[in-house]
C-alpha cells in the first residue's frame, strides 16, 4: 500500500499546472519526433538536454521521458500511411498497416495503434510500479547463452513474416549477412568494409529500412502503369467513421495483451530493443492468433500486436535504469545522463533518497499516456487526409523527408547513399515478390546473435552445453526447437498441398 500512497503523492505534483504543461510539451515533441523519420528520440533528448537545465528536475525529467515514450506512439503513423518506418520498432507495423491503408482502413489502423499503445503503455507502467523488483531480477538472469537463444527465437520468427517461406528465408539470410558488415566486437577486426571508413561501425539502420520500404515503394509505384495516387475513394473522413469498429476491437484485444506482455518482458532486458519485441509479438500472432492465416494481408491484429509491443518496451526499459542505474537502451542512457546532470544518481537509491521526485515522474508517465491518446485520436482525421494527396505530389515530399531523415541520423552524407542503394534493392525485391521484413529482422538480429553465441562459447571455453545449462536458456532452446520443427512441418504440409492441387 505504500506504493499506492507514494504514487498518489506523486500525482499531487504531476497534476500541478507545471507538471501538466511539461508533460504535454514532452509528449507533443515525442509524437512529432516519432512521426518524423530519421530523427530518433535519443538524438532529440540529447539536443534538448541543455534546454531543460534550470527547470525543476521533476518537470525536466517528466518532459524528457515524455519524448521517449511519445516517440513510440508517433512511429506508427508514417509506417501505416506511407509505408515509411521511421524507427526500427515500427518496421513490422508496415506489413499489415500499410495494406490496411491501401484498403481504405488507415483510420482503423492508426486508431488501434493509438489505443494499443495506450493500453500497453499503461499496463507496462502498472507492472513497472508494482513489480519492478522481481522483474529486475529476471532481467539479470539473462546472460549471453540466454540472449543467444532469444535471438535464435527471433530468427525463427522470420519465417512467420512472409507467406512464401523460401523467399523469406533468402531475405533473412541476406539480412544476417548485411548485419555482419562493420567491426567485429569480439576480435576487433573489420569485415566487409572494403576500406570504407563509414562502414566500420556497420550499416546505419534507419537509412536501410527507409530505403527498403518507402523509397523502394515509390520507385515501384512510378513503374506501375495503373492509376496510382489517391486510390482510396468513397471513404468517410469523419472521425467517428475512422476509428476501429467493434469487430476490430474483438479481433485486437488479445493481440494487444499478448503484444504488451512480450514487449514489456523484452523491454526489461537491456539491449534487446523495440524492434525485436515487435517482430516477436507479430510471430506470436502468427502462431496463436485467431486469424493467423490472414496475417500479412492487411488485418488489424498485424498492427495491434507490434504497436502494443513496442510501447510496452519503453516501460520495461525503465526497470534496469531505475533498479540498477544501468541504462538498457541509448535513450535511457541519455535519461540517466539527465538525472546525473541534476545531481540525481540513477538507480535504486532514487527510490530511497528522492522518493517524491521519482514517484512524481512515474505519475506524469500515467498522465502522459492519457495525453498521448487524446492528442493522437483527433490527429488521425488529419493524417488520413494525407491519402487524398495525389501520388505525384506526395512522392517527392516523402523522398525529401527520407533523404533529410537519413542524413540527420549521423549528419553523414554516406547514409543518404545507403538510403538510395537500399531503395533500389527494395524496388527489386518488390518487383520479384521478395519480402523485405525478414531482411530487416535478420539485420537486427545478426550482430546480437553472433556476439552472444561467441561470447557464450568464450565463457564455456567451447562447450555447447552452456545453451541448455540454465533453466531459462533450456526453456528457450526447447521453444526454438519446437518453433523450428513446426515451421518445417507446416512448410512441407503446404507444399504437399500445393503439389496435389497442381496434379
Amino acid at each position: 500500500m505504500e506504493v499506492l500512497n507514494n504514487l498518489l503523492t506523486g500525482f499531487g505534483v504531476a497534476l500541478t499546472w507545471q507538471g501538466l504543461l511539461y508533460t504535454l510539451i514532452g509528449v507533443t515533441v515525442g509524437t512529432l519526433v516519432g512521426v518524423l523519420p530519421g530523427l530518433g528520440p535519443s538524438a532529440t533528448l540529447a539536443l534538448l538536454l541543455p534546454v531543460t537545465f534550470g527547470l525543476d528536475p521533476t518537470f525536466a525529467i517528466a518532459m524528457l521521458a515524455g519524448i521517449y515514450y511519445g516517440a513510440e506512439y508517433g512511429g506508427s503513423t508514417t509506417s501505416i500511411l506511407l509505408n515509411l518506418p521511421g524507427e526500427a520498432g515500427s518496421v513490422v507495423t508496415c506489413l499489415d498497416g500499410n495494406l490496411m491503408a491501401k484498403k481504405g482502413r488507415a483510420g482503423a489502423a492508426l486508431g488501434i495503434a493509438a489505443f494499443g499503445s495506450f493500453i500497453a503503455g499503461t499496463i507496462g507502467l502498472i507492472a513497472f510500479t508494482f513489480m519492478a523488483h522481481p522483474l529486475a531480477k529476471w532481467s539479470l538472469s539473462f546472460g549471453p547463452p540466454e540472449y543467444s537463444m532469444l535471438m535464435m527465437l527471433g530468427l525463427v520468427a522470420a519465417a512467420s513474416l512472409s507467406r512464401d517461406k523460401v523467399k523469406g528465408l533468402v531475405m533473412a539470410i541476406l539480412g544476417l549477412l548485411l548485419g555482419t558488415i562493420g567491426t567485429d566486437t569480439v576480435s576487433g577486426s573489420e569485415r566487409f568494409t572494403f576500406g570504407i571508413a563509414n562502414l566500420m561501425s556497420g550499416l546505419s539502420f534507419i537509412p536501410v529500412i527507409m530505403g527498403l520500404f518507402a523509397v523502394g515503394d515509390i520507385i515501384n509505384n512510378f513503374t506501375e502503369t495503373s492509376e496510382t495516387g489517391a486510390s482510396v475513394t468513397g471513404v468517410s473522413y469523419r472521425l467517428r467513421d475512422l476509428l476501429p469498429t467493434r469487430e476490430d476491437w474483438s479481433y485486437s484485444i488479445w493481440p494487444i495483451i499478448r503484444g504488451t506482455v512480450v514487449g514489456f518482458l523484452l523491454g526489461t532486458l537491456p539491449g534487446s530493443g523495440a524492434a525485436v519485441a515487435a517482430f516477436l509479438a507479430y510471430s506470436v500472432e502468427r502462431a496463436v492468433g485467431r486469424r493467423r492465416q490472414l496475417l500479412g494481408t492487411g488485418i488489424i491484429e498485424g498492427v495491434a500486436a507490434p504497436e502494443s509491443a513496442n510501447n510496452a518496451v519503453t516501460a520495461g526499459a525503465m526497470i534496469p535504469l531505475f533498479s540498477f542505474g544501468i541504462p538498457g537502451t541509448p535513450t535511457t542512457a541519455i535519461l540517466a545522463g539527465a538525472l546525473m546532470m541534476y545531481g540525481l544518481q540513477p538507480g535504486p537509491f532514487l527510490f530511497v533518497n528522492h522518493a517524491s521526485f521519482i514517484w512524481a515522474v512515474i505519475a506524469t508517465m500515467y498522465i502522459g499516456n492519457v495525453m498521448l491518446l487524446v492528442l493522437n485520436l483527433p490527429l488521425i482525421g488529419l493524417w488520413v487526409q494525407l491519402l487524398k494527396v495525389p501520388f505525384y505530389l506526395l512522392a517527392p515530399v516523402v523522398l525529401v523527408i527520407t533523404v533529410i531523415g537519413a542524413f540527420s541520423v549521423n549528419n553523414n552524407i554516406f547514409d543518404v547513399w545507403i538510403l538510395l542503394i537500399f531503395g533500389f534493392l527494395g524496388y527489386l525485391a518488390k518487383k520479384n515478390k521478395y519480402p523485405v521484413a525478414p531482411l530487416v529482422l535478420g539485420m537486427i538480429i545478426s550482430k546480437k546473435l553472433e556476439q552472444s553465441l561467441r561470447r557464450s562459447l568464450l565463457m564455456s571455453l567451447g562447450d555447447l552445453r552452456i545453451f541448455v545449462s540454465s533453466p531459462i536458456s533450456l526453456a528457450l532452446s526447447i521453444l526454438v526447437a519446437v518453433a523450428l520443427l513446426a515451421t518445417i512441418f507446416s512448410f512441407f504440409k503446404s507444399k504437399k498441398g500445393v503439389r496435389t492441387q497442381g496434379a
Binding site: V35, L36, T183, S189, A197, L393, R455
Partner: protein, 342 residues
Amino acid sequence: MKRIVQVRKLVSSLVVMLLLLSVLAGCSGSKTSTDKTASTAPQQKSGYPTKPITFVVWSSAGSPLDLFMRKLADLTKKELGQPIMVENRTGGNGAAAMAYVNSQPADGYTVLSTTGSLTFAIAKESVPFKADDFIFVKSFQAEPSAIAVRKDSPLKALENFIDYMKKHPNGLKIGGYASGGFHQYVLYRLQQKANFEATWIPFEGGADAVTNLLGGHIDVAVITPSTALNQVQSGAIRLLAISTDKRSPYFPDVPTFKEKGYDIVEMLWRGVMVKKGTPAELIQRLNQAFDKVAQNPDWKKYMTDYKQEEYLLDSQGLTELVKREIADRRAFLEKGGFLKKK
C-alpha cells in the same frame, strides 16, 4: 476546389514539418548564436576568434564524450566571446569526423573531440590518420579502469584474484567493454606484471558487462568504475583495484594497482585537438580559454556530477602522452593478435 485547398494545406503543413525537422536536426546552432553572453564577453585584441567556432564530436549526441564537448563549448564561448556550435559526426570510429576536420582550413575554427581511444585506433591503423595529422590542444578529464567482483565473490583483494588466476589459468570468466580496447589493455598490463593467463570476454558496453557480472554470468569485470556507481556504493560490487595514480576521490576505499605493487597507471582521457598547421598563437589562445574553463566552478561541478577525474595536460604534455600510448598499445595489440597481418 475544396479538395485542392485541402491538398495545398496538407502540402504546406508537410513543409512546415520539414522545416521543424531541419531546425531540430541543425540543433544547438541557433540556440548558441542567440545567447546573450556571447556579445557581452570580453573581446580579445588578437583577432581570433572573430566568428563562430565549431566543435566536432565523433560520437553520437548524448554520449559521455558529447556531453563533455557540449559542456566545454558552453563554458568556452563565454571566454572566447564567440558562439560555439556542436556538431556530431559519427562513423568509422571517429574517422568520419577526422576526415571532415581535415577538410576544413587550419584556422582554429574547427575543433575536434579526442580521447585515449584514438591512440588505440591509430595503433591498430583502423583510422586512416596518424598522430601527426593533428595538434593535440588539451586534455581535461579521464576515467580509470577497475577490477570488479560481486559481493559474494571469495576474491577479497587483488592478491586473491592474482593467486587464483596463477593456480587456475583461464579459471575465471573475465569480461569488459570491447575487444582490444582500454579495459582489456589494463588487464593485459596486469597479466604481464603478475604473469597469469586469462580469456577475455568482450561486451558491447560497460553497462552490459556490469549486468552480466551482477547476474553471475561472469566472475570478474574490468570496467570504468562510475558505470557501476550504485552497486559499488551499495556494496553489491566490490572493486579490487583501480588504475589511477593516487586513490580516486570518488572511490577512496579502493586501492590503486600501484599501492598493490603493480605499476599500472592508465586513464582513458578526453580532450580536444585541431588540424595540423593551425598557427601556434591560436592554440595558445584556445589553451588560455580552456585553462579558465577548467577552473570554473560550473565545470568543477560537472566533473563531480559525472565522476570524472581531473586530467589537465597542455598541448606538449598531451602530445608526448599520445606518442607513448600509441607505442605501448601497439605492443599490446601485436601480442594479442589484433593487428592486421601484413
